[in-house]
């Protein structure tokens, strides 16, 4: 059964009624458990659980240190192109936003790579808009060939591909795949993805699974919080991660909790997700999925990131630029979304050390057949 079929079975569950029956006592019982079931996860996402966040945080911190140690993996995004054929209500790259689009040449990619290496980064995630013309598999392969000389791990966050295409990229040196579903609620998904291939909900939903099948070492999923009731969205995200862990034992599954940021289109989130809500989402997920990775993005402020760090985070981006060609040349200003944490890599590392964490910049070695 694919995750889409699992989603169809559970999407009409009476969540609100279930939440209204949950008491603090129910939450406390779940917190004591070593292994959580699906229903336990939902209990931790209930409004009643808001009263138990400190207890949840202590356990989340212990589990994370036990499994991952006092370490945080650092990475940076590299935007290759902002050409995009999709029309999405919330994204600056949307096709009807009028701005000069760019696509990095291989020479520019080399220049960006050198700038990133100089900054002290070894794990990079490559990003594109969705355009089979401008971000083709061939272009990505050429990009990988340039970049693998410089880096220890290369991941992608691009348009969903077929299993065979993912396999081609894995063989070339890609080891990680990030695909955010944006919103798991299928009806709301259709309201925000108006035109273009991204409108195909199921093809996107099953992309992480195709990536795992193709041999991706790690797969990172997430929902853009603010598009619908965050409790349900986080629940579906956790179920999706659980499904992937169960079916693809060899793949590292990680979660992200991006909140909607202001962008060029002036999109306003439907639901306001407070810091407290974000904390609950992270804690419930950590307790439900103790081995899953958890990525914290530069969308959040430096101050908040400091506080979120001990709650289960295992990876974070540093000194991110969400602009195509933003590392070597800083004059280009059209970003996908605004970042809040603008500290340099050295500052991020120093702050991690102060908080008692070891910043890890290298945690893999690209193993293509030439090695």
């Amino acid at each position: 059964m694919s995750f889409y079929e699992e989603y169809i079975q559970i999407k009409n569950y009476p969540f609100d009624h279930f939440f209204s029956t949950i008491t603090i006592q129910d939450v406390k019982q779940v917190i004591q458990k070593e292994r959580l079931h699906t229903e336990d996860f939902l209990i931790l996402l209930s409004p009643a659980a808001e009263n138990c966040l400190e207890e949840m945080a202590q356990i989340a911190n212990n589990r994370t240190v036990q499994h991952f140690g006092r370490t945080i993996q650092l990475y940076a995004p590299l935007y290759l192109t902002d050409y995009c054929v999709n029309k999405c209500t919330y994204c600056s790259f949307s096709i009807d936003n009028d701005f000069p689009r760019r696509k990095l040449t291989l020479a520019e990619i080399e220049e960006e790579s050198k700038a990133l290496v100089k900054m002290g980064l070894r794990h990079i995630i490559l990003l594109t808009g969705e355009s089979r013309l401008h971000s083709s598999v061939d272009y990505l392969c050429e990009t990988i060939d340039v970049m693998k000389k410089y880096f220890s791990s290369l991941s992608i966050e691009i348009q969903p591909l077929d299993t065979e295409e993912y396999r081609t990229l894995v063989a070339r040196g890609i080891d990680g795949l990030t695909v955010y579903q944006e919103v798991y609620n299928e009806e709301i998904y259709k309201q925000h993805h108006l035109k273009g291939p991204k409108r195909n909900y199921r093809y996107r939903l099953e992309a992480p699974e195709r990536g795992a099948k193709a041999g991706m070492r790690s797969v990172n999923i997430g929902a853009l919080l603010g598009m619908d009731d965050w409790r349900k969205e986080v629940f579906f995200t956790g179920l999706h991660a659980h499904y992937l862990q169960k079916n693809y034992l060899e793949t590292d599954i990680a979660l992200s909790f991006p909140r909607i940021r202001p962008n060029l289109g002036g999109f306003q989130p439907k639901v306001n997700v407070s810091d407290k809500n974000l904390v609950q989402a992270m804690l419930a997920s950590r307790l439900f999925l103790p081995r899953a990775g958890m990525t914290l993005s530069t969308r959040e402020s430096a101050e908040l990131r400091r506080h979120l760090l001990p709650l289960g985070v295992t990876k974070m981006s540093a000194a991110s630029s969400t602009v195509v060609g933003g590392y070597a040349n800083k004059e280009h200003t059209h970003s996908q979304f605004e970042i809040s944490d603008k500290r340099s890599v050295a500052e991020v590392k120093e702050s991690l050390r102060e908080l008692g964490y070891q910043p890890v910049v290298k945690d893999w070695e690209i193993l293509t057949h030439s090695s």
Binding site: R70, G120, S152, Q358, E365, L367
Partner: protein
């Protein structure tokens, strides 16, 4: 009498093997390794950045007199383990290798079949191979035949600190195998390290329990003492234990 542990052609007087993962900084790691008395330390090749200097290069903070035991953490197949091992040797990390082939990211259980395959290839290439494995006698024999220098069965899953849950199976390996048995993974407390040594294990490898302790340096010292105590107890011949009291009125005393 000197009680030495032989692995390959090397003789060790200390039976606590340590690791480099999960410390919150390298300075603390260095101090901990120094104080532990350990002579062998495992390090994941995936974490080693040879181009880096200072704090960024983990190798610079490993005491120079320790034997490096690079591990193939991250490998999911024998082929990947072999390639990582070759990279480690090419990087000047010596010819010892701890094979870790884990194709399950949830429990992090080793894949014995792929591990045996990698052992065969690497032993033939002259590596001193220490395979990390699920305690299974037939798999251990396959690794021994393939040229392993020691066998490293898990006590419980990596990082779980759950103690020696696989005790009966490890006991079988200790009794049946000629190679040194080094209990790796799952040891959460010094008492559990002592327990492994009392059972007759040749050594233990402890990382998480030391690195994530409130005071890693003191915890490393505690483990060193426990390993020594356990070893001494084993060599002294532990008396038989019984769950019932000795009967004070014998039933067959009338036989004279």
């Amino acid at each position: 009498m000197t009680d030495l542990l032989t692995i390959g052609n090397t003789q060790l007087h200390n039976r606590l093997l340590t690791g480099t993962g999960k410390f919150y900084n390298h300075k603390l790691m260095k101090e901990t390794l120094t104080q532990s008395g350990s002579q062998v330390v495992t390090v994941a090749l995936r974490r080693v950045d040879l181009t880096a200097t200072g704090e960024e290069n983990i190798l610079e903070d490993i005491p120079k007199d320790m034997i490096l035991l690079p591990n193939t953490s991250g490998a999911r197949t024998a082929d990947e383990a072999v390639r990582i091992a070759r990279l480690a040797r090419a990087a000047g990390m010596g010819n010892w290798i701890k094979i870790e082939v884990i194709s399950d990211q949830k429990y992090l259980l080793p894949d014995n079949y792929e591990t045996a395959k990698a052992t065969d290839i690497l032993a033939n290439e002259g590596f001193v191979v220490l395979p990390y494995m699920s305690p299974d006698l037939m798999a251990a024999k396959a690794m021994q035949n393939a040229g392993a220098a020691a066998i490293m069965p898990l006590g419980s899953p990596i990082g779980s600190n759950r103690g020696i849950r696989t005790k009966e199976l490890i006991q079988i390996l200790i009794e049946e195998m000629e190679l040194p048995i080094i209990v790796d993974a799952g040891i959460g407390k010094p008492s559990e390290a002592a327990e492994a040594m009392e059972m007759g294990a040749a050594a233990v490898l402890v990382n998480t329990a030391i690195a994530t302790a409130k005071d890693p340096v003191e915890m490393a010292i505690a483990f060193d003492l426990a390993v020594k105590a356990g070893r001494k107890a084993y060599l002294s011949g532990i008396g038989p234990t019984t769950t019932t009291a000795q009967a004070s009125s014998p039933l067959t005393g009338f036989l004279g």
